[in-house]
């Protein structure tokens, strides 16, 4: 029994060398700070989407409606999926859903979240620049 105890303990310590090396590498390449998004250090692209959506959120009131414009259908799909949690109390009109363009292209939405280059659609001229893009507002909604 004493031998088995030792085997388990030595084994556990050996297993913990994996996390030790992970942490050594992490602390060598990262500064310890409060992360700006839940996937900050693991999924940089998702983190960039998240930071943009979080920055735009205060400009979109609860109960209104939004759509997302982005450079590619993949960007729009992932941004829309992420936005469902951050914009749960806002009505969604996705321009792209699961990589498919949607009828209307989100033209019904009052707020247009533009990811990337801050360029508003012609029918949503009022622009607020945010981190990662812009929030454009359609006047007549």
């Amino acid at each position: 029994m004493v031998t088995m105890r030792r085997v388990w303990l030595v084994g556990a310590l050996v297993v913990l060398t994996g996390p030790l090396i992970t942490w050594t590498n992490f602390l060598r390449t990262h500064r310890l700070e409060v992360p700006a998004s839940p996937t900050e250090n693991d999924q940089p692209q998702l983190a960039a989407y998240w930071r943009f959506l979080a920055a735009a959120r205060p400009l979109v009131p609860s109960g209104s409606s939004y759509t997302i414009k982005a450079p590619t259908p993949d960007d729009e799909t992932q941004l829309f999926m992420l936005s469902a949690g951050l914009y749960a109390d806002v009505r969604p009109y996705p321009a792209t859903y699961v990589w498919q363009p949607q009828p209307g292209g989100g033209s019904e939405a009052k707020y247009v979240l533009v990811y990337g280059a801050p360029e508003c659609p012609a029918d949503a001229p009022s622009m607020h620049i945010v981190n990662g893009g812009a929030v454009c507002v359609r006047d007549k909604r």
């Binding site: 994996g18 996390p19 996937t39 998702l46």
Partner: protein, 450 residues
Amino acid sequence: MTVLAYVLAYALVPLFGLSLASSIDSRSARIGFAFLAGALLLTIEATVFTMFGIRWSIVGLSLPLLIASGIVLLRGSESPSPRRQAGRGRHEAERSAGEGRKRESPLIRLRHLLPRLRESEGLSIVIIAIAILHFLLSILTTQSINPDYVLFWGTKSVHFALARALDAGYLLSPFAPPRIDYPPLLPIVQAWGLLFSQQMPWITAAAMSAVWLMAAVPVINWLTGSIHATAFWTAAIAASLAFCGSGGNAEAMLVMYISVGAAAIVARRTSIAGIAFAGAMLTKEEALVTIGAILVGVLIHDRGIRRAAILAASPAAGASVWFAFQKRFGMHVGYDRVTFTHTFHWDNLPVIVREAPKSLAAGCWGLSWLIPLAIVLCIAVKRPRSLARAIPLLLPIPILFAFFVYLYLQYESSLAMKMWWILPRLSQPALSLMILGAAFASSDRMPRHD
């Protein structure tokens, strides 16, 4: 404040599950299991509430479960179970010895207390604490938060909390989240936290995955009777969970329910196993395959159907709660997770063999597999009879791997990438079974639970 309120909500969960944990004679294991059982009861209750059109509220969800726990605890204090009484007898003796010591100085009392903890037990506790901290900090520093959490698990939680219901309208909406067929335990528990915090503390809510590991540790220790094996199990599972990015998704819950259930089978605590398996079935669809494989092990071990039938009934009842909800709201009834084409691509076989070791690294170069495997092989040579009691844990491992191969042979494209993404997570219950199997086979303290 949001974070504190969210954490407070989780602190209440063990109170909900005390009614199902009262037979456990170890206090820490009782609290740990009460957390797992409390999450299960909360899920069932919240689902049933929605089916009957009752909106969720903190009081509405808490009260029935607290009353149930209260009644069981009151009955327990009037007529303690033989198991608890045996435990109490021990405590009484310790207390009277302690009263004798009351006259001693605090330093002398400390000296009496410390030798109880052997050096190796102290080291085990330190290992357990480091392992849990590793998983927790990996999530808090966002190294191990799963993308699925921000894409659909957390999203569902926010919508459910906002609707104060298991919002079928959202699940069936034209812009539904992915995986609407996934069982509801995790989103319901996360939404429960949101009822308190009002806003989603995204990183904190993901970090709660570590609480599940923390809850399971004393239960595993109690069931295996070995703090040393528990320390190894905790180190291995924490390394694997962090490696797989299990913050915020349902992996931690699934592994904990399966592990506790499987260990309880060998420890002959059938009711504990049944409750844990019901929790697993309401957590993730993958539970179906793992529990099925474990039940095959039980059938072979027992050479009879009785215990396997009892153990099958509980997860079936758990799943039926979710299926009843699906039927009630016109959703597709059942699990959609795995698609079988039954067209086998045999040229996938070399890719499977080549990629599997990389996917089984579990955050420690696969040592968490190799060490218990070496222990099992050693026992198989030296005292093969000891392996018999671990059959329900060890037999499912080849069955599960055969299932993975069967599944991967049907993949049409990008097999290596998909294996790298899925297999580390999918293999975690098997990893846990391997460690627990080795722990039970190498232990001579099993009769404790009989």
